[in-house]
Amino acid sequence: MNETQSLQKVSAQKGSSQVRAKAPVLKTIALAGNPNCGKTALFNAITGGRAKVGNYPGVTVERKEGRVRTPSGVELRIVDLPGTYSLDAKTPDEIITRDVLFGVDERVEKSPDLLIAVADATQLERNLGLVLELRKLGRPIVLALNMMDIAEQRGLDLDLEVLSQELGVPIVPTVAPKQQGVSALLLAVEKKLDDEALAIPVAIFQSTPDEIRNRFSEVDRILNLATRKKSSPTVWTDRLDRIVLHPVWGSLILFCVFGLMFQTIFNWAEIPKEWIESQVQGLGQLVDQLMAPGPLKSLLTDGVISGVGSVIVFLPQISLLFLFILFLEDCGYMPRAAFLMDKWMGKVGLHGRAFIPLLSSFACAVPGIMATRTIENRRDRLTTILVAPLMTCSARLPVYSMLIAAFIPNREVIGPFRLQGLVMFGLYLAGIFAALGVAMLLRSTVFKGPKPMLLMELPTYKWPDAKSIALGLFERARLFVARAGTVILSISILLWFLSSYPRPPQGAVEPAISYSYAGKIGQGLEPLVKPIGFNWKIAVALIPSFAAREVMVGSLATVYAVGDQKEGATELLGDRLARDWSLATALSLLVWYILACQCLSTLAVTRRETNSWRWPAVMLIYMTTLAYLGSFVTYQLAMYLGWG
């Protein structure tokens, strides 16, 4: 064969589909570290926030995976593992992390080729213990020392070379929220990827108390060698905590912070709320002028505009609520607030780890219930799941705001505190005390057991990041508007139909709505709800609001708009209710809303997290019973006091 023929043969082989270059094997990099060390922030910084989210099979633990290309073009698969304090795992989260790191079941998760151990530079005494355990796994490790900016602000001066030598791993300082150190980290990962991994048997990781003691002695020894200058947290954070966590002053500050929060929700939201109300009314009037009378016009004005418009007006209040929550969370105050409540939580037998799920439930019970995965004891976990929906979620806010604005006078009480804001605060407190009361009952009966040890980790104080707050706020507002434009719109349309058909017969004397499907259903339910002060219109509106709480406002608006005999009426819902209801009825409905389980999503996530239909059924039954009893007592008492 001559040279030309050889070249032709080679080029034919290259062009042939039989000759394929081997695809490069994708390396798996796992991020492991203590909870709250900034692992997820670092994961987002590395992957650019583009993650595939799923679940580990058989459990409800979340799994996040992303891809990244290193500076020299190597593609890596990054897996964000659940946070763990030790490889001696106890909770479902920690067990998953341990199993993945050991490569227990390669079908579930391929064991990582390299570990990025993430440690909080401001809490090295607690974080390095896990790093020492990870070292024993025999896999290549790179240590990302996160939150270096906060550590340096506090005066910490570390000799990273000495630390790296003592630990035997390369160290890269990072500041994940600012994406600092990410390129250096990827370079270090690339260099380390060539190191071979050793297989370590699982049996090595059953830590005895002596082993734990020795590990932390080793951490102390290493830190003594590597620290040139210790950080001075007493500069302002500890001094602040001496006041904020004080049993008396701290409680007073807590009261003032939340009192002011609810006060501003009413005061600051007034102007934008009135503007939105005027736009909604204007839109209703425009449709009324442009369209001829008929069912379509009624659908648009009484169904769509009344229903959706009555919910949209609460956007300023929802936004303000989340602005405060995000601000207080971001600056580190929320866990301090929960710490002050811990005394009461411990007295009712609630686990220390329950504070994060219960805190999350102030926004929405669904992530709160999912966060109970960090509670290892099943009884403690179930208790927390069952009481989480009693914490006042943001969906209750439109109902509370509407009723308070319609029935509670806005008079001054003391200083900047006005009655409406205080009543709102009182409703939130009532939810908390209801949760604590039910938890105490559960822990002394069905879930009897030893009182759990309370252990809390307080994050450091920091100035809130304006950009992340703005992004969080925008996301919340977008979700609220999206919900109004989908679920609430849909239910308003359905309710319009049920309230408008069938048409009243010839010569009917009653209002048309009495002859409709909604009227018949409401009248059928009225004997059931009369003892608690509800009329049939409230009964009808309650049915769809079992799916989602804030639907109540839109449902009431639709039912009252259709029921109103005046053509083209665009009266505000609050004014209609103030005319039609007594104070006793309003108070009864408020109590109902504190206690009732009116969220299909909460029931669905409870079923998923408990892997059983029993517990969502228990939740629905006990909360409905509690709500009925609470409303009954409230209504009867209010009637006795002459508020009927």
């Binding site: 069912p295 009624s298 669904v366 999912m370 999206a482």
Partner: protein
Amino acid sequence: MTQEWIALSIVALNLFWLLRRFYRGHLAEPLSQWFLKHGRIKWAMQVRQHRSVQSGCDQCKN
């Protein structure tokens, strides 16, 4: 009459959307599990494809 037909068509489409959303968000997952338990693998896989990706709550990112 035209207004009524348009209004009722909107209501019908809306009802279909609502039922579909309820099925995808809350029924598809338990139904596919039930089919799996009773040995109907193909039906379980088909129903599983219909389920909604979200956890079911619009108020939160989760």
